[in-house]
């Protein structure tokens, strides 16, 4: 049965309470875990993410199932070493003069070597989480 509970605070059995705003704003609005390779098959677990696009070995796009109200979401991303045994830092919500700026419907994840015009191998694991 559908319904709505309206409350300013939420309390547990021990009597500790918090504002429902903390619950609403503190929950991840979207996340995705990618495990595997394009050719050998992969497993994706997600919430609020419709797809992950591989653009290059250093550039990935995450698309949201439901658009955010604006592009001011916060994100955290990480990855495994790539299949060649190399490790690169991953950066989300890049701007790059607007070419790969985050939007309400998707954002980009880039590894550091992309900015060097370099190349590498695809990562086997990719993790991203988004808050707003």
């Amino acid at each position: 049965m559908a319904g709505t509970i309206v409350s300013d605070t939420i309390q547990n059995g021990a009597g500790a309470s918090t504002s429902t705003t903390n619950v609403i704003n503190g929950c991840a609005k979207a996340w995705v875990t990618v495990n595997g390779t394009l050719s050998s098959g992969m497993t994706l677990a997600s919430y609020g993410v419709s797809s992950v696009t591989y653009i290059s070995s250093c550039l990935y796009q995450v698309s949201f199932s439901t658009a955010f109200t604006d592009a001011n979401y916060s994100s955290a991303v990480s990855s495994s070493w790539d299949s060649g045994g190399n490790s690169y830092p991953m950066i989300a919500n890049i701007a790059n003069n607007g070419t790969y700026a985050p939007s309400t419907t998707s954002t980009y994840i880039v590894s550091r070597i992309y900015n060097n015009g370099s190349t590498g191998f695809l990562v086997n694991y990719l993790y991203a989480i988004f808050f707003r």
Binding site: L38, S40, V49, S50, V52, Y54, S56, S83, I113, F121
Partner: protein, 142 residues
């Protein structure tokens, strides 16, 4: 079998969109990919060592294949990137009195051998094999 959506991107490479399953693949195709994108089974994508050279994939019709010339260029780029980082490491070693595992002459000879192997490679496995001795030498000198 996993179905994915592919299209040629602005860099001339292949973009591969993998649906998470939250929406149907047709909905993802309409929402997340440009017009003209096509749905294929992931098993039709390049396999084995060809799969590792994603940046050298090209799309002809509905078939994704590997461009060996591009793969060679990427192998050289990777090799040069590793070599530059290692030269910095070797220079630091020399500056603080730590002997490098390979002499400068042997290191340069190894690089020359790798570049020659990349140039003459006819398969992506040969490209990977060309890079491996450099990776091993770098790991040994860590």
């Amino acid at each position: 079998m996993t179905q994915v959506i592919i299209h040629t991107n602005e860099n001339g490479g292949v973009s591969v969109t993998v649906p998470t399953g939250e929406l149907s693949i047709d909905a993802v195709k309409a929402k997340d990919t440009p017009a003209g994108s096509i749905i294929v089974d992931s098993s039709t994508l390049p396999q084995g060592s060809d799969a590792k050279f994603f940046d050298a994939w090209i799309l002809n019709g509905s078939t994704v294949s590997l461009d060996l010339t591009k793969a060679k260029a990427f192998a050289n780029t990777m090799l040069n990137g590793m070599a530059k980082a290692e030269v910095s490491h070797r220079t630091t070693n020399a500056g603080i009195g730590i002997e490098n595992k390979l002499s400068d002459a042997d290191w340069l000879a190894l690089l020359t051998t790798a570049r020659t192997a990349i140039s003459s490679a006819t398969t992506t496995q040969q490209l990977l094999d060309a890079i491996t001795p450099i990776q091993t030498a770098i790991a040994d000198n860590a």
